[in-house]
């Protein structure tokens, strides 16, 4: 069991190394954008994994509100933080991709804007967790997580309509652009590798959260015993 952590980390990193090689060397060069388009193989999988993390956060928070188990709260905390990390990479790689291709660092296009709002919602979740005092942080955070996730489809719909009304440059090709089969394979490989990395990060962060909580309650119990004597 002790060997599981380093093994899974190495396995995941190895897989990522392989899929990155595929993305950089094996995938065909895109016709219009050139080699810069290869950022796509990192940018999009990161977005999907971020969303997966937020979904896990929603489910874990709902379970916490129902069962009040420390494990579900720990998973909620872990998944939100990991999701924000992946979301940050999306927001960083997006502009780096946009600049050489479209000449602008940022555009309020539907996808980038939605990602930004998502990032804001879950950062505010993390801030709430950090600033809440007292033993009921978990319940309050879980309640807020429900709001956050339910807002996601509404955010998506509202921004998409806004962009239909007021069009702007779209990053990553419009809705009609498809993927050549060779590219699709590389994309799916990277998607799988990134998903594995996301699950690994969530698991490790979950372990950290559980251990930290265990120490805290051990300290609290010891203090109580000390007082009782």
């Amino acid at each position: 069991m002790k060997k599981l952590v380093p093994f899974s980390i190495l396995a995941t990193l190895a897989m990522l190394g392989l899929t990155s090689y595929l993305a950089l060397a094996v995938a065909p060069t895109e016709a219009t954008m050139g080699d810069v388009q290869r950022i796509f193989y990192y940018h999009v999988p990161s977005a999907w994994v971020a969303f997966l993390c937020f979904l896990v956060n929603f489910v874990a928070s709902a379970i916490y509100l129902w069962k009040r188990s420390p494990a579900s709260d720990a998973l909620a905390a872990a998944s939100a933080e990991v999701g924000v990390v992946f979301c940050s990479v999306v927001l960083l790689t997006g502009p780096i991709w946009a600049r050489p291709v479209w000449g602008i660092w940022w555009t309020w296009d539907a996808r980038l804007t939605t990602t930004l709002v998502l990032w804001l919602i879950y950062v505010s979740y993390l801030v709430l967790r950090r600033f809440a005092a007292g033993g009921q942080t978990q319940a309050l955070a879980a309640a807020f997580a429900i709001f956050g996730f339910i807002d996601v489809p509404i955010v998506y719909m509202s921004i998409r309509w806004f962009r239909t009304q007021h069009p702007s440059p779209v990053i990553g090709g419009g809705p009609g652009s498809g993927l050549a089969p060779a590219m699709a394979h590389v994309f799916l490989a990277n998607l799988a590798a990134f998903t594995l990395m996301g699950i690994l990060f969530m698991w490790l962060r979950y372990k950290l959260q559980m251990k930290e909580q265990a120490i805290e309650s051990a300290h609290a119990q010891a203090a109580l015993k000390g007082v009782a004597q």
Binding site: I9, V36, V89, L92, T93, I96, R99, L204, E212, A218
Partner: protein, 48 residues
């Protein structure tokens, strides 16, 4: 600026963030383990 520089920058940024985060979790895990050992050690003498 050569567009390839942007490609390299994007990959670099991604790796820095991901590996940095992984490193931070592992460091914190190690610290918590040490804290736990420290705590258990300090409790031992009280058990009679």
């Amino acid at each position: 600026m050569n567009p390839i520089h942007f490609l390299d920058a994007a990959y670099l940024v991604a790796w820095v963030v991901y590996l940095g985060y992984l490193g931070r979790i592992l460091l914190c895990l190690k610290r918590v383990e040490e804290e736990k050992k420290e705590f258990d050690r300090s409790r031992q003498p009280q058990l009679r």
